[in-house]
């Protein structure tokens, strides 16, 4: 069974952290992963830096720009992650935009992920229909889950369709926004969480975008299986480097 599915069977609400590979320092990728696992994070999204990340706000974009400037590449990420499965057990997901993956070669990229022990991919600008027609088989052959996004504007019909082609979880974007642009959920957003929860989808939902502290994490996971924190963690890294990661994790989900 894929590590993501296995993890999702646990009872607790999932806390997932996003960070940009090669940030704040080029060799920080693996130490950060290990530290996050040690501090009880349930799974990790590793951001593959991209020059033009459309769905990200300034915090994540700046971290990508810096990582690229200090020499981060797709090859380098795979080199860094080599052997990661000897020491890290929690699910690892790569989040990246489609163009770098396309240039690497989708099949080669997927094979490399499988060799490395990556469990899934989140590619925001790879539409579900293109995935189904051109790439689904490659992902499946390499045991990779492709995680799709839904938003408050996604129609019920499309949500049902996305649910039918998903086999891990659905990434529920909390608000119509890029990453890191909101704090706290409106009544409207909570209604959206309730609406999706009432649809009884076959895949659990993990909420992302706009989650920065314990209170918002609890709101986000009231109706969903878990939540993903990205920009808030990057801000923590900006302020602390890779020190005090445990404190950050505890500030979201106290032990």
């Amino acid at each position: 069974m894929n590590r993501i599915n296995k993890k999702l069977q646990e009872e607790q609400k999932m806390l997932s952290i996003y960070f940009t590979a090669g940030y704040p320092e080029p060799e920080d990728t693996v130490p950060i992963i290990k530290d996050l696992e040690k501090n009880g994070v349930d799974f990790i999204e590793i951001g593959l830096p991209f020059s033009d990340p459309l769905a990200d706000g300034p915090t994540i974009q700046e971290s990508s720009t810096k990582a690229l400037k200090s020499g981060m590449t797709t090859n380098k990420l795979f080199e860094q992650l080599k052997g990661i499965r000897n020491s890290v057990e929690i699910p690892l997901v790569i989040m990246g935009y489609f163009n770098p993956i396309l240039q690497y070669g989708v099949e080669k990229f997927c094979k490399k992920c499988a060799e490395t022990g990556i469990d899934g991919l989140i590619i925001p600008d790879l539409p579900v229909d293109v995935y189904n027609e051109e790439y689904k088989t490659i992902f499946e052959e390499n045991g990779l889950q492709n995680i799709f996004l839904i938003t408050p504007q996604t129609s019920e019909e499309r949500i049902r369709f996305i649910d039918s082609v998903s086999n891990g979880f659905i990434y529920m974007v909390s608000t119509a926004s890029v990453t890191g642009s909101t704090s706290g959920f409106s009544e409207e957003t909570r209604d959206y969480f309730k609406r999706i929860s009432a649809m009884k989808l076959q895949n659990p939902q993990i909420v992302g975008f706009g989650i920065s502290d314990e209170e918002i994490f609890n709101q986000a996971t009231e109706y969903a299986k878990g939540a993903i924190i990205g920009s808030a963690f990057i801000k923590h890294l900006n302020a602390n480097g890779k020190k005090n990661i445990g404190d950050f994790v505890k500030s979201i989900r106290p032990v």
């Binding site: 459309l54 690229l68 996004l149």
Partner: protein, 393 residues
């Protein structure tokens, strides 16, 4: 074989809609309605009336006698520089503002490089009384000051894009982010034949008025509808799409696309996508794209803000790959000299974008009786400070 977009928005291998789910509803709303709306009689009437009475169409097809004599061939200039606001961009913004109204949108966003599209968008928003926000790279804001002032005077808010190369590519990223953040009330008026389907096709259809008029005008002047060649500069490629449109599937008409070589194709400071680009995805479209081996988008360079873009529209990528279009790269220097030459020979100061297209004659020879139509896509007023600095005027 057709060089138009198919129903999924592909030109051969290029096109499509590679967009985050956050944009799907916006793009799908437009995609499912744009052709029907454009077919409506009331839409066509309003569009054509505005093009005639507000934009000032048809624009003249001018036989450039002295310029033709110099290069020993027959050169016609399609005078899009005489459109209201000074460039062809307004054809598309008039069309899209009418589209936005029919979609019930009351907020407009746009990106701009040289500022021509920003001005054209601000203009139609003023005309319709709709809020307008224009994203523009910080560097372009500096080098296109008159257009920034015009946009402000027209009531638009100009927002500087401070990321990346701080030019058109980054302004486009910011505009897309704004659209993600405002999915319900906002229409994004893209200024070129780039972006996710249906934008390249929709913008090309609005700009197609250019080749439609040429057919009529050339019949009057040369007793033939088809020139031997149609020529245009290509950044994203909207003026080119407009002059090629009715000739795309007519192999008798040669298609010439002129790109900005900047300081030279191999100088590392260039925007010549057909020479330097590989297949990739930018701003929601699969096309030819200047990028690193690792798939990071390269920062382009051109003296012309309007050509300073690392990709081309998917229509043009297909014209290049299929061999239907002949692609020529022109350096900053050759373009500036051609702009100066046209001013002296014909009394027309062209936009620096257009000067690239005018510069092909030194190297590309034509027969004496060849009929060549060049899209004179915009006027050079906005570029005067660049011309002044360059020539020490």
């Amino acid at each position: 074989m057709s060089y138009q977009a198919n129903e999924k928005g592909y030109y051969g291998d290029f096109g499509g809609a590679f967009i985050p789910e956050m944009l799907y509803p916006n793009v799908e709303e437009l995609r499912s309605q744009y052709l029907e709306i454009m077919k409506e009689e009331s839409f066509q009437k309003e569009f054509k009336d505005l093009l005639r009475d507000y934009v000032g169409r048809p624009t003249p097809l001018y036989y450039a006698k002295r310029f033709s004599e110099k290069y020993n061939t027959k050169i016609y200039l399609k005078r899009e520089d005489l459109c209201h606001t000074g460039a062809h961009k307004v054809n598309n913004t008039v069309g899209q503002i009418l589209m936005a109204k029919r979609l019930g949108k009351d907020r407009i966003i746009a990106e701009t490089g040289a500022g021509q599209h920003g001005v054209a968008t601000a203009t139609v928003c003023a005309l319709m009384g709709i809020e307008c926000i224009v994203y523009m790279g910080e560097i372009d804001i500096e080098r296109q000051a008159p257009n920034v002032a015009r946009m402000k005077m027209l009531g638009a808010k100009v927002v500087p894009a401070k990321s990346g190369s701080r030019t058109l590519k980054d302004a486009t990223n910011e505009a897309i982010r704004d659209w993600i953040n405002n999915p319900l009330d906002t229409h994004y008026i893209i200024g070129s034949v780039v972006g996710p389907h249906p934008y390249p096709d929709m913008v090309a259809r609005f700009q197609a008025v250019i080749s439609e008029e040429i057919k009529v005008q050339l019949k009057e002047k040369e007793n033939r509808e088809n020139p031997d060649y149609v020529v245009a500069c290509v950044g994203g490629g909207s003026n080119a799409a407009g002059i090629y449109y009715h000739y795309l599937d007519n192999p008798e008409v040669g298609i010439i696309a002129v790109e900005a070589a900047g300081k030279g194709i191999q100088s590392g400071e260039s925007a010549a996508t057909s020479a330097l680009g590989k297949e990739g995805i930018i701003h929601g479209s699969k096309t030819l794209l200047m990028q690193t081996d690792d798939g990071q988008i390269t920062e382009p360079y051109s003296i012309s803000a309007g050509l300073d873009y690392p990709g081309v529209g998917p229509m043009h990528a297909n014209l290049f790959r299929s061999g239907r279009g002949e692609f020529i790269s022109i350096t900053d220097k050759a373009a500036m000299d051609a702009g100066q030459e046209l001013a002296k020979l014909e009394g027309i100061i062209p936009a620096i974008e257009t000067s690239h297209a005018l510069a092909i004659f030194e190297d590309r020879k034509f027969k004496k009786d060849d009929v060549i139509v060049i899209n004179l896509s915009g006027r050079g007023d906005k570029d005067l400070s660049t011309y002044i600095d360059y020539f020490g005027l």
